[in-house]
Amino acid sequence: MSAPSRRAMLVQAGSMLALASAPGLAATGPEFPFPGGNGARPLAKDFPQKGNMVLQRSRPPLLETPFTDFDSGVFTPNEKFFVRWHWSVIPTEIDPAAYRLKVRGQVERELSLSLSELAGFERVEIAAVNQCSGNSRGFFEPRVPGAQWGNGGMGNARWSGVRLRDVLDKAGVKSGAVAARFSGLDQPTVSEGPWFRKSLTIDHARQPEVIIATAMNGKPLPMLNGYPIRLVVPGWYSTYWIKTLNDIELLDAPDDNYWMKTAYLIPDTPRADIKPGQAGVTMVPINRMVPRSFITNLGAGAKLKARSNAAIRGLAMGGDCGVAKVEVSADGGQSWSDAKLGRDEGPYSFRQWTAKIRVPDAGDATLLVRCTNTKGEAQPDKANWNPSGFMRNVVERLPVTVI
């Protein structure tokens, strides 16, 4: 597609006129128990192709999945899947006949694939969790700037599409290629600003689980989740899952663009954990995800009957591999028992779990859930900290009231 027509497809997302009382807001949303407060958020109900979402930011849209929705099953409905854009100039119109995916750079032959040409590759499917690098950032202590997510900056879907490797092979990767850089239709609001582009090493780009998704849970992607196509990088954080993917550039040197070299960096320490103010830390691009687990059928402050048996359930993820074990504790972490794991949808998917707990005596109690992945890596008791608020995966603690 030509530059002018492509430009015409883009508009400044949303209006710059802020309304004192916006008509699209539901009355109440969650109040996240963030350290230091400021955790109240409205629910937005007027974003296109989306249901009620926790409004983190109107423009560029930053929409969080209400946590109760995670109790509906192992796959997150498309209309409830979280939304995150970096620049406010995002695609609001897609003409599939004009859409092209370019493959260029260190290739034998440049490609400009139409969507129907793309659909001609072997079709594949994979279940995978898509999680923002900064999911749960609002719980960091001390607090750090950035999107103040609760725990709903994540979702799980059955992604179908074509293997990235098959597309790269069609172009013919030259031996000097070391990285593949991906970009989509979103554009910097200010023309000199850094385009949002992310890279994978060529070895990673050629892994068979990395796909270009043309559908999500058997349906087209919502526009705000990257319609018509997005990159899916199972096991890695969402920053690499480029939406409205339209350009793949094979590079002959590591990518030094802002979004790889300066942004989305983590301390090269176990669990990306450092002390506030710690100096002399080597920083590396964020990469694989780590295990997490959540209780989904009870909220904070839920009332349980003393000395009863209660059924709890939730979701777990291994990170970049499967879930080996989920354990629960009803006594603040002194004793643990194994939860029963639900159907295995593949190593990159959420895994549902169920457990019976013995509710303690009346008073305040804390329920804990801990996932160990198939590499033997368990969620830690103590939260990690880094200045960007990335990779939180501490054991979750749910306060309940026993009556």
């Binding site: 949303g14 409004l55 620049w87 969507l115 179908s160 802002y258």
Partner: protein, 103 residues
Amino acid sequence: MMAAIAGCLVSAAAVAAPAPVFKSQAIELPADAAAFPDGPNVKVVTQNCLACHSADMVLDQPLLPRATWAAEVTKMRNVYKAPVSDADAALIVDYLAATHSPP
């Protein structure tokens, strides 16, 4: 430095799903849900900051010390190339420190 690429050697499974059908789509995004509350220089803040993002991006942040706000404004200018003058940047930091910093 980098962790292993993929934890599990699992390929996306080939499926006999029908080819996807792509239709033309157009969406309209809602207006910003929030405005900057009153405070010193709020007009300057509104004029500069709303060009790139809605006010809730700022209002949802934790209370941050002045130095952190100053760094954020510098990042908006130097990294994201927000065309904010030196004079306006100082006024914006004053607003943020006055309205959204710890006591």
